[in-house]
Amino acid sequence: MTYEFLQHYWCFIVSLLGALLVFLLFVQGANSMIFQLGKTPDERRLLINSTGRKWEFTFTTLVTFGGAFFASFPLFYSTSFGGAYWLWMLILFTFVLQAVSYEFQNKLGNFLGPKTFQCFLVLNGILGPLLLGGAVATFFEGSNFIVEKGNMINSPLSTLNSQLDVSPVISHWANASHGLDALLNPWILVFAVAVLFLARTLGILYTMNNIADETIRTRSRYQLAGAAFVFVVLFVVYLVHLLLKDGYAYDDSGLIFMESNKYLNNMLDMWYLTAVMLLGVVLVLWGIISELCSGSQFFTLHSSLFPLPGIWPAGIGTVLTVTPLLLMSAWNHTAYYPSTADLQSSLTLENSCSSYFTLNTMFWVSLLVPFVLAYIVYAWRQIDSKKIDRDEIASDDHAY
């Protein structure tokens, strides 16, 4: 295997993990709507227990996404997390709140009260997808950082009069906001809000399939139209912007330059990814439409067109859409983490990846992933073999 192949392979793995994470943000999406979909404590408990069986998958995927990025592209990990400090800290804080909220919210001894933790779930449900979407958008819009590896040894050692004269930090954010400046970019906000409403759409689709309660289903179908509409509009708007904007390319020597319509060129050059992405979009729309129509005569007459609950085509479609989208940001000589402060500080697959040895070693580890996916699917089917209903909540000792 060549070094170039391994770089692209690991970019694919990280993109796939990112796409799976976006799908699993249905947990956050549903949580963001706890008080909209659940008007009574019992209904809210149903919703929380529905997503509560899956929250750890989102969490674990986020952590694995970070770990895989660290292992395969350590310069990104170092530059982004160390630079966009406040953006990542906000994301992490909301996920910390989510992690304890399920377990604590309804337990005797919770002196903060159930509503506090339910609000934490809503907070994570909104900020999690929003900020993660914003972080991903910086792959296309750029971030304000500078990288200088030579800083490890650039200081004039002969004039040392303090150990901190040698300050070998190789990357720094070029303003004091440390990542929050991303939220001032309107296009980043468009993408971030699109991700939020995608998460809400998927969350609604998931709960419609997972909860045996007609009141919640009806309310969900009503919310689905609005959430899906906002998502589709914003996604299309951003996609058009992306195809028309200049992008960050690099040549064989590693020199980074701006290229007109770079992402459109990527879509045309990598038509196979575009085909997969279009298939993904169709599946997402199919999933949404199938649930919107599920009570209608059209659905009844053409039920063979909709053999699966909407979450499945929409979920698979999300993965098939997001994976190519992320690959478009990095493959085909594209700088996947562009710098708006210093063009040549932009990160590419080649200048930010781990060594051949590490990527090769991790390649063999990644072959375990299909086995991991297999047992996840098996366990998921076992737990979701029956929809959640009020009787199950009442009789389950561990219900949240």
Partner: protein, 541 residues
């Protein structure tokens, strides 16, 4: 390329260290109970699987309920640590990420998904899956947590003893050369065994304490007695195991982190036939030489010897720190010269086209200086040799707390074992002895109903063991991490060269946010656990 000279606020380094310490200490409040309780609830459910009685099912479910409350906090505090290497230690992440990132990625793929998948089956699958699959899920949850511990401890062990890597001057970072050396380093194996086994002590202490409280209150006595029986065996074996693995770890520390050992012992001037200090003024003759070198007269260097240089037993010379600083500076300067020349050749390739051989010669000469001084590269960032001495009093007292309490747990679990089980001759003898000194009721001395096996004072002592177990556990980490200071990677990268470019104020703010958040959540968790315990095994949410 932009050349930058960044000035890092000294406060940034200290606040970053404080924040990492805070988040790690909090994380370590929850992980050992997860690891330890996983074993006990696994045993309880295995007995249920064999006997299929409601009693064992409820027993397993009770411990799983408490496990769940604690597990959530472990997950919550863990995510911060995973990303904190990047947020607060970005230079570290770049400099050694090629090696350090791999164990973290493997941890996610192999361990976290196993934990997160099967914990959901364990909690919610009682009525949905077969008894066998549920039992497997319970054990796989614990196995996932244990495998997770393996990989993170591999990563931490590598920080203590960096192996399987080489510095690449062209990429300006250390790169992995052997995954097996990293994953199976003796330091990693010993650290894993010691850390996980000591976690089982926490689980066992917790179960014994809760059960003893039930005995004192004369509630759920059957659950209490059976749980004590399981936990006492686990705890006694684990306490012995922790002692053995701790000794082995200590010997490895003596070999590869002599400054840490010197700090642990507050040994300033080393020598041969060094005694092992219990506390100042009380020592076991030859004890430290024996423990560190397996010989009574083995040489153990002190802090001053390590600073000033000394001759080892095998005749090799350990350079002084001043010499290491000079050699580190040589490595840094040679690296700077090497990179400068490479850049010039790259930019002015035509100019150097006719001088290829001499350029190669100069480059090779620089490389030779880099390679011969690379072991001391990190020292090139040190100004004063006193900076390489870890905080002695923390190491000294934390080590004593850990070892002293470890010995106490051996005695405690040993006593509980002989009282809760009817071991021929031994149990009777111990009960008679306790009765003779007034620590056990005369009626209980000869043969006792299981529920009366544990005298009240021992039950309350068991409750007291819980905070002591946590003190011992955290003390171990204080020794491990403070003993390595000021290095993030031993001898390779000091803290001030590893940190992110952040203001001290930003890090201080997140420090206090984490402190408030984690403390509040800890208070909620403790309150929930206490309420769940008070309600007992029939308790619902």
């Amino acid at each position: 390329m932009t050349n930058l000279l960044l000035s890092i606020d000294a406060g940034t380094v200290d606040w970053s260290r404080a924040q990492f310490a805070l988040t790690a200490i909090y994380h370590w409040l929850f992980v050992p109970l997860t690891l330890g309780l996983a074993v006990i609830m696994g045993i309880a459910e295995t007995i249920y699987y064999k006997k299929r009685t409601d009693f064992w099912k409820h027993t397993a479910q009770f411990w799983q309920r408490l496990f769940g409350v604690n597990f959530a906090m472990g997950v919550a505090t863990g995510i911060i640590l995973e990303f904190e290497f990047g947020t607060n230690w970005s230079n570290y992440s770049w400099f050694v990420g090629d090696i350090f990132g791999a164990p973290l990625a493997v941890e996610g793929i192999v361990a976290f998904f196993m934990e997160s998948t099967f914990v959901a089956v364990m909690f919610f699958g009682w009525k949905k899956v077969s008894a066998g699959f549920h039992l497997a899920s319970t054990w796989l949850t614990g196995l996932g947590a244990t495998i997770s511990a393996w990989w993170i401890l591999v990563a931490n062990a590598w920080m203590q003893y960096p192996v399987g890597c080489a510095f690449n001057p062209d990429t300006m970072r250390n790169e992995m050369t052997s995954f097996l050396e990293v994953a199976l380093s003796p330091f990693a194996v010993e650290k894993f065994c010691h850390t996980v086994i000591s976690s089982w002590i926490i689980g066992a202490v917790f179960v014994v304490a809760v059960s003893c409280w039930y005995l004192v209150r004369k509630r759920h006595t059957q659950l209490a007695v059976q749980s004590i029986r399981i936990a006492a065996i686990v705890g006694f074996v684990a306490a012995l195991g922790a002692g053995a693995t701790g000794h082995k770890s200590g010997q490895t520390v003596a070999q590869v982190q002599p400054m840490k050992l010197a700090a642990m012992e507050a040994l300033y001037d080393g020598g041969h036939e060094i005694g092992l200090k219990v506390v100042e003024g009380i020592e076991v003759p030859y004890g430290l030489s024996m423990m560190a070198t397996n010989t009574l007269d083995g040489y153990v260097p002190g802090i001053n010897d390590l600073l000033d240089g000394y001759v080892k037993d095998d005749g090799t010379v350990e350079p002084s720190v001043d010499e290491k600083i000079e050699r580190g500076k040589l490595a840094i300067q040679a690296l700077a010269d090497y990179r400068r020349l490479r850049e010039e050749v790259k930019v002015n390739s035509e100019k150097f086209a006719t001088a290829t051989d001499s350029v190669e010669e100069i480059l090779n000469s620089q490389l030779s200086i880099i390679n011969s001084n690379m072991p001391y590269f990190g020292y090139g960032y040190v100004k004063d040799k006193a900076d390489v001495v870890p905080p002695v009093w923390i190491n000294f007292w934390a080590f004593r707390a850990m070892v002293g309490l470890g010995c106490l747990f051996i005695a405690f679990f040993g006593l509980v074992l002989v009282l809760i089980f009817d071991i021929p001759m031994v149990s009777l003898l111990v009960r008679r002895l306790l009765s003779a000194v007034g620590l056990l009721d005369e009626r209980a001395a000869d043969r006792t109903a299981p529920a009366d096996a544990m005298p009240a004072w021992l039950c309350w002592a068991a409750v007291l063991m819980v905070p002591l177990a946590y003190i011992a556990s955290e003390s171990g980490w204080l020794v491990a991490e403070f003993g390595r200071q000021p290095w993030t990677i031993q001898d390779m990268l000091p803290t001030w060269a590893a940190v992110s470019d952040l203001s001290a104020g930003s890090v201080a703010l997140t420090f206090f946010l984490f402190l408030i958040l984690f403390t509040t959540m800890l208070a909620v968790e403790i309150n929930i656990l206490l309420k769940q315990i008070k309600k007992g095994p029939e308790g619902n949410s």
